[in-house]
C-alpha cells in the first residue's frame, strides 16, 4: 500500500493563495487507509481552509469530492462532468498519492492541480497510526535470499552483503528507532537454519530495473500492441 501524509496546512494555504474557488479531491484507495486523503481528511481540510479564509476575511469556496481510485482515468472522468467549465473552480487540490495528482492533472489539462499530500513510501501499518516502509519497488526482488526481509527498503545503505559496522544491538546507526534490517535477516535465517546463504558474495545489483533505469513502464505481453 502507498503511504502518504498530509502536507502542512500552511503549505497548502500558500499553494492555493491565488484561488478563490478550489476543489479538494480525495481518494478512496491507499490514502484513505493510511488516514491521509480519505473522506474524513478531505472534510477536515476543507473545514480548516474555510475557517482560515474566514479568519483572514478572504473569499474562498471549497468543494469536496471523493474518487474511487485517483490513479485511474475512468474513476476521475466523472469529475470532469462535475466541473465542466474551468471557471467552476480555479484549482484542484489532490489528496491522493503523487500518482493520483498526475492522473488528475492529465484529466484536467487546463486546471492547476496541486498536491495536498506528501507521498512517503510503500509500506504497511505496524499498528493503528504507525506505518513502516517495506518495499522500495526496485524491480528485481531478492527477498528469496534475505529471509523475506528487504535490505533495499529497510537498510539505510541498501547493503547487500550483511550489516555494516554501525549495527548495534539490533538497531541501525542512523537512530530514530530504526531496526537494523540485516540484523533481522541474520536472526531469521539463523532461525530457519539457512545462515549459509549469507556466506556467498552478493554481486553488484542491477539498478537499471529501479528508477535509475529511467521512468519504468510495464507491459504484459498479451496486451502489447492492443488499442
Amino acid at each position: 500500500m502507498i503511504i502518504a501524509e498530509r502536507k502542512s496546512i500552511t503549505d497548502i494555504w500558500q499553494m492555493i493563495e491565488p484561488f478563490k474557488r478550489i476543489a479538494l479531491i480525495g481518494c478512496r484507495g491507499c490514502v484513505t487507509v493510511c488516514m491521509a486523503g480519505g473522506a474524513k481528511e478531505v472534510a477536515v481540510l476543507a473545514a480548516a481552509l474555510r475557517l482560515a479564509a474566514h479568519e483572514r476575511g478572504r473569499e474562498l469556496v471549497v468543494f469536496e469530492e471523493m474518487v474511487e481510485r485517483q490513479c485511474e482515468y475512468e474513476f476521475i472522468r466523472p469529475l470532469q462532468r462535475s466541473y465542466p467549465q474551468e471557471q467552476a473552480v480555479e484549482g484542484l487540490v489532490s489528496l491522493a498519492c503523487g500518482i493520483g495528482v498526475q492522473a488528475l492533472a492529465e484529466c484536467f489539462p487546463h486546471l492547476p492541480v496541486l498536491p495536498g499530500l506528501n507521498t512517503s513510501f510503500l509500506g504497511m501499518p505496524e499498528r493503528s497510526g504507525v506505518w513502516v516502509e517495506r518495499c522500495h519497488a526496485c524491480g528485481q526482488c531478492i527477498l528469496d535470499s534475505t529471509g523475506a526481509i528487504c535490505p533495499i527498503a529497510r537498510c539505510a545503505k541498501n547493503l547487500l552483503n550483511g550489516p555494516c559496522g554501525g549495527s548495534q544491538e539490533g538497531m541501525c546507526e542512523i537512530g530514530n528507532g530504526v531496526e537494523c534490517a540485516w540484523h533481522l535477516i541474520y536472526e531469521r535465517l539463523a532461525r530457519l537454519n539457512r545462515l549459509d546463504s549469507l556466506q556467498s558474495l552478493a554481486l553488484p545489483k542491477n539498478w537499471a530495473k529501479d528508477r535509475d533505469g529511467g521512468p519504468r513502464r510495464l507491459i504484459r505481453e498479451d496486451w502489447e500492441d492492443e488499442v
Partner: protein, 598 residues
Amino acid sequence: MKQQVAVEPISGALNKHKVQPVLVLGAGITADYAAQRLSSAHKIVQIKWGPVADLPLDWLLKQEALEKGRIESSWEKIKAVALLDWSGQVGEYILRIQLENGEVRDLRGKAVVIALDALPVSTLAWGWPGPANSSRPLEETITLSDLTTRLTPVLASSSGRPERDGLSVWAAGHNVGILLGPGGLEAAPNTLLAIKCALVLKQQVDCRVGIFYEELAVGAGAIEALYQESRQAGVEFYRYTEFPQVIEQEAQLRIIYRDPSLPDHFPPWEIPVTLIATATEYYPSKEIETVATLAGLPTGPDGFLLSDTLHAWGGQTNRKGIYCVGMARGLLRLMDLPEEVAGVAVDLGQGSSREKTLLLAQVDPLLCEVCLTCFRVCPHRAIEITDCTKRSSHGKLYKQAAWIHPEACQGCGICIAECPAQAINGADPLQPESKLDPDSGWHFFMLDNGELYQARTREDFSGNQGPVRLVVLACRQSGFLAVQTLTRLLPFYRPQLKLGILAEIAVYPVACAGWIDDLTVLRCLEDGADKVLICSCHSGACQHQYGNHRAKKRLRLTEQYLQEIGLKDRLDFYTLAGQNYLQWLTWLKKIINQLKSH
C-alpha cells in the same frame, strides 16, 4: 442519514440463545463458587483450566453468601489443558480448548464468566521458612490455609464442644507465629484469615499468638472490628520493615524480629514459637495473560485482568457477555466474589444493569474501505470484518466490510471519530433539530453581571446572541452529569431581566469524549463558536478504556493545525468527575472572562 438506533438490551441477545450454556472458566474456588451460584438459573459448562488457589472461601465470605444458590440445575465440568482460541460475540462465544487426551473441542456459550484463580506462590519463594542456621526442613510450619482446615470444625459447630477438645489436644501449649508476607491492601484475604485463626487459637485454646506483618489491610472488607476484637483478646501484632528471620536454638524455634520503631543499635527480639503459619502470595497466572490476549481484555499494571478499570463493576468487562469475577482481578477481589457473581446473574437474567447506550454505531458497507482502523480501535471488540455482500442489498461492490455487532457495541463512538472514510454513523448531537432537546443538550446564557441562566425555549436561544459563543461537548459520564446538576440549580432566563447577554453556551452530551474528532471541532468553529470546550472523564476513568485518552491525543493535533491556520486558543480540554459541577462552573467563567477581554 444519521439516525439514532434503538438498542436491544443485552438480555435480548442472551434470550435468543437460551439453550446455550454459560461458560465458566476456571478450576479453582472462584469458578466453583461462580458456577454453583449461576447454575440456579443457567445451564453451566465449567471449563476446568488454570491454577487452584489454596484459600478457604467459607472463612472469607459471609455465611449467607455461601448458602445462596444451592440448586444445581445443570453443571457440566470439562477439564482442559489449554485454551487455544476465543471467537464469537455476546450471545455466542466459541472457546476452543484442548482436553487432556489431546482432543481439541469448541465449546459454545451465550456468555463467558472468567473465574480463574490467581497463582498461589508459597512464601518459600523468598527462601523461607527454614531456620537460618539449620538445613533440616521445618516440620513446625503450616500454611495459613491448612491452619484454617484444622480450625474449621471449631468455627462450624455452634457449641464447639467436641471438636474443640480435639483442637485443644492438637494446639495445646503451642506458641503460634503467623507470618504475613509484604504487601498492603491486596493481601486483605490473608489478613482476614490470620486474624480469624488467631482469634480462635487465642479464645478457644488460649495459645499465645503473634501476627507478623508489613502492612495490615484492616481497612478492607470490614476487618477493622475483628482486628480490635483480637487485640483485646490478646493477640500480639508485630509490624516489620524487614522480613523476620527464623532460627533454631536448642531445639527451639525463634522468630528474630526487629522493631522498626526502635533505633538500629537495639538488639532484635527473639520470640520463641512452636508453630509457624505462613500466608501464601498470589500472582497473575499465565492463563490470565492468555485470556487477556485471546479475548481482548485489558490487564492492569499488576497483571490481573481489568484490575485498574473503574467501570468494571459487578463482574463486567469491556466486552458484553464476558464477565470476570474474583481472583482473576486480584486477590482482594475474592472477598467481593458474592457481589460480583450477583452482578453477573442480574446482567445475564434481566438485561444489562448498565445504562442503556444512546448512540449505536453502524457501518455503511458502501463507504467502508476495510482499513481496519475501527476493528483495531474498538475497546469492546464489537467490530467484525465480514463479507458485506451478505448484508448489503447494493450488490457486490466490496468483498469485505466492517460490521458492528449491535449487541456488542457499547456506543462510545470512538470508531466514528477514527474512521478515515466517514463510513460509520451514529447519533449526531449537533443536528439542529436536537439542539434544544433536553435529552441531548442544555443551553445557558451568561449575562453582563456574570450570572448564569439557562435557556427555557428554542426562541430564547437563537444561537446568535452575545459577543461570546461557546460550544461544550461533554462526556455523559462526567461533564454532562455536572451540567445536569447545574440545570437544577440555575434559574431560567427571562428577557425581562433587561441585562445584556455576555455569552451563550451550548452544551451537548457525547457518549464518550472518544467520539469527538477534529471535524466536529472544526464544524463547531465554522458554525461560529468562539471556543470549543471538551469535558471528559479523568485519565484512567473512561468507561470505554481509552476514549478520553484518544480524544486528548487526537485534539492536540487539531489544536496544532488550528494554530497553523491562525486560530489560537479555540479549543480547550477539561477533565472532571460528574460531581465536580462547581469546579466546572468556575472553569467556564474563567474561560468566558478570558474571551471577553480579547
